[in-house]
């Protein structure tokens, strides 16, 4: 059991190290990357299964008993997130095999991708707040390099904003950890959860909670801290955009949900109401920002922001059902959003651009792609029977149960606007005829279309098909997934289970 818990961190680490050793042999790096991704997926499936069967899994590093050593914990929420990371890791690795250029591959793309996955899985599994900071940094450094690898001008400009704001968020995170340590003398999250309610200075606890909120808010791109995201996510190659859009902001959301369900539950009236208000504004601003955009990946980037609002909405409502809705939403969103980015990459290959103005005719030239676009697009907007419908349904039900009608109304309107945005992409990229004539002022943004060989096409379509199939499967077997999500929500709503699993009887 214990080995299963460290495998999701160990596998990407070993893959990264071995592919660094194979620096000169690109084909070997690709093979290693593929093996690593499959192994990570299998390990994460095993982990989720064992958490489901035997309850929360705990490992104490170096056998130092908690709260003195570093603890790794997998509860249902964490294990589900690791599984999704495994699913996305495999999809993006396969997609990279065809889409990544030789130059980026020979400058360490695959090792970096695996280090990123290691950081993400580490953040999902750690039970120590300072260790969480370290995993965030591991993930950030890998993402910095992935973002600017290639050195194009747009990447540099986007990179500066991404790096600066994320480092600022890390500094705030560190300060918040410092304050918590000063208050309690502990860093183990379960131990913190036990000690915080007894402290005399609850005001300081709330202050540190707000510092965490800002730090994780920057990472997860909530209003008004999201400006780095639309400035940078459309600049790297599409495989990198896809894994960023799927996993990175969601690690921020995960950390926010973790600390605000486990540790900072003393002043729910203040903290969680604030989260709820911010969620509503995030949803609205993100979706309105998307309406103004005319570039495939930029539209999708703004939709990430509006969808983050739904995830934090469940946290703001703070009932077991709402938390289950959040978890369901995160899982659904990661799969769907990554898939949409992968589709945009194929459109870019076939038409030579991401600009909606110069895209067109994809329904005629690539009918299969058109169908595969519609599945995640409808799912994102929340059309039944796809995964997004059930995710939204749970959240709306939770909102109605707690009588928060304003946020329910916002969520419904944003769903409608999302559908409008997806219809815009559909009309421009797939439905209208391919425009002819000179690109004019957009010359830099329009490239030569490519003809894909059958093998390349297969490799492009396989990950898209795999993610679309998962979306449909979640929709069709929704009761199964809802069951899992509501169990995970129950665990989050009752932190005593987590605390007892980590600290035992002490």
């Amino acid at each position: 059991m214990e080995r299963l818990l460290v495998l999701p961190i160990l596998i990407p680490f070993l893959t990264a190290v071995t592919s660094l050793l194979a620096w000169r042999w690109r084909w070997l790096q690709r093979v290693l990357g593929l093996i690593g991704a499959v192994a990570l997926l299998l390990a994460s499936m095993g982990l989720l299964e064992s958490v489901r069967l035997y309850g929360i899994q705990v490992v104490q590093m170096g056998s130092w008993p908690a709260p003195f050593g570093i603890t790794f914990v997998a509860d249902l929420f964490g294990a589900m997130m690791v599984l999704v990371a495994g699913i996305i890791g495999l999809a993006v690795t396969v997609y990279s095999l065809v889409s990544m250029d030789a130059q980026r591959e020979s400058f360490g793309y695959y090792p970096l991708l695996n280090l990123l996955l290691m950081g993400v899985c580490g953040a999902f599994l750690t039970g120590d707040i300072f260790n969480l900071y370290v995993w965030f940094e591991v993930m950030l450094i890998a993402s910095f390099v992935l973002l600017v690898l290639g050195g194009e001008r747009a990447q540099m400009e986007g990179g500066i904003k991404y790096v600066t704001l994320n480092l600022l968020s890390s500094a705030l995170f560190l300060a918040a950890v410092g304050i918590l340590y000063g208050l309690t003398g502990s860093l183990n999250m379960a131990d913190l959860a036990r000690r915080l309610p007894g402290l005399p200075s609850q005001g300081l606890v709330t202050a540190s909670a707000m510092l965490f909120f800002v730090a994780f808010g920057i990472k997860s791109a909530v209003f008004p801290l999201f400006f780095w995201l639309p400035a940078s996510y459309h600049t790297p190659p599409v495989a990198v955009s896809a894994i960023f859009s799927g996993l990175l902001t969601k690690v921020g959301v995960y950390a926010m949900i973790r600390v605000f369900t486990l540790m900072f539950v003393q002043d729910v009236g203040y903290t969680h109401s604030l989260i709820l208000v911010i969620s509503g504004i995030t949803m609205l601003v993100g979706v309105l920002g998307a309406v103004a955009q005319n570039e495939f990946r930029r539209i999708l980037s703004f939709h990430i922001i509006s969808q983050i609002g739904y995830m934090t909405m469940g946290l703001g409502l703070f009932t077991p059902l709402a938390l289950a809705g959040s978890i369901f939403y995160i899982v659904h969103h990661i799969i769907v959003k990554t898939n949409l980015f992968l589709v945009s990459g194929v459109a870019r290959r076939v038409c030579g651009t991401y600009e909606l103005k110069h895209l067109g005719g994809l329904y005629r030239s690539e009918p299969a792609l058109a169908v595969l676009f519609l599945i995640p697009a409808f799912s994102l907007a929340g059309v039944p029977p796809l995964s997004g419908f059930f995710a939204k349904l749970i959240l709306l039900k939770a909102g109605l149960e707690t009588k928060q009608y304003a946020i329910v109304a916002v969520a419904l309107v944003v769903g409608l606007l999302t559908l409008f945005s997806m219809a815009k992409i559909w009309n421009e990229a797939f439905w209208k005829a391919q425009p002819h004539g000179e690109p004019g002022a957009d010359k830099e943004l329009v490239h030569e279309p490519e003809n894909l060989s059958p093998l390349n096409k297969g490799l492009y379509f396989a990950p898209i098909l795999w993610l679309a199939a998962i979306t449909v499967a979640i929709g069709l077997r929704a009761e199964l997934f809802f069951d899992l999500a509501s169990q995970a929500g129950q665990q989050l709503a009752n932190p005593d289970i987590y605390i007892r699993a980590v600290l035992g009887g002490r």
């Binding site: 540099m156 480092l167 500094a171 560190l174 300060a175 950890v177 340590y181």
Partner: protein, 115 residues
């Protein structure tokens, strides 16, 4: 001692945030470095300052006796310094490459990806 350090930390935060709001990206990076230092000093101060009492185990016993300094904040800070050093080295190279490819160090000129 605590109050002196509190002012130092406050000053570092103020200076760091001020520099981050300047248009030059070099000053932006220096601002980030100062913020990192401020956070490290904050942890150090909050871990309680103890003068002249190293956390050493005297011979013949298994735990330090009497009053001793808390070694954990220093371990945390050491980790944070190492991470900060790596990140700052990367940020400096990024700044250099950005200045080369954009042709200016003025952040206001770097907005082609925002439109």
């Amino acid at each position: 001692m605590e109050s002196t350090l509190a002012f130092v930390i406050g000053g570092l935060y103020a200076a760091g945030l001020y520099l981050m709001m300047r248009r030059s990206i070099i000053k932006l990076i220096i601002g980030l470095v100062l913020l990192g230092h401020a956070a490290n000093l904050l942890i150090f101060t909050l871990g309680q300052l103890t003068r002249g009492a190293p956390p050493l185990v005297p011979p013949g016993t298994t735990a330090p006796t009497g009053d001793f300094a808390n070694p954990l904040p220093q371990a945390l800070i050491l980790t944070a310094i190492v991470i900060g050093f790596g990140v700052q080295a990367f940020a400096l190279v990024l700044v250099q490459r950005a200045v080369q490819s954009v042709g200016t160090d003025d952040l206001d000129q770097m907005k082609s990806t925002d439109r």
